[in-house]
Symmetry: C2
Subunit: 109 residues, 2 copies
Amino acid sequence: MRPLFHPALEDVRPEAILHALSDPIRAAIFTQISGMGCVQACSAFAVVGDRVIPKSSLSHHIKVLREAGLIRCERHGVEMRNHSRCSEVDQRFPGLLSAILGAYALAGA
Amino acid sequence: MRPLFHPALEDVRPEAILHALSDPIRAAIFTQISGMGCVQACSAFAVVGDRVIPKSSLSHHIKVLREAGLIRCERHGVEMRNHSRCSEVDQRFPGLLSAILGAYALAGA
DNA sequence: TCCCATAGTTCGGAATATCGGAACTATTGA
DNA sequence: TCAATAGTTCCGATATTCCGAACTATGGGA
């Protein structure tokens, strides 16, 4: 396994963040990773809402979030652990992520 | 000409806003419409940065912004006038648009 | 060591979206 | 009525997304 690419904080682009979170499934995954505080394996997202997400699609979504700079992924044994980079990103783009997650929360209600 | 579709404020979806603004060209157009205070004809956006935008693409971008609920478009004689719906959207999703435009401003600098 | 189970990734083709040139429509003014 | 201007629609080329199937990587037995 080659190491996974994670952009440096200064290379994180707003368009990549918006694109990543413009998909409600990815937004839900990111909300869960950020909100739980604890690290989550990919398999934790096999079901989002009432939708079953195929493994290959899930892998793709996780990759989009990672390459946008929103999460950090590390292999731990047989599973991948996904951390939020929320606080880092918030330093670079203050208020952006909380506004986006807040908007989804408002719309979902 | 059939009248243009504009979503009601309560039908505006966060994913549509993020998708619309995840394109830097559309974000630049929206920034210009919102920031100028004054209404802008579509032809005002024929050049964004140093890129020339073909008319058909521009028409498409304006449509995406309109259908996301970000702008309001009215024909005035031979030209279309584009208003920002920024303050409306800000009521529904407080802080979202300023965080997004702020992020682009930070990244652009 | 070999084999199996688990957790994700990659491949590839179908469905979908985007881009932009060319043709078209709508409006105004001469 | 005609020409000019401002946008829209059409459509083919290109790019992206989706997901099943095959593959890879790791750890835990026997």
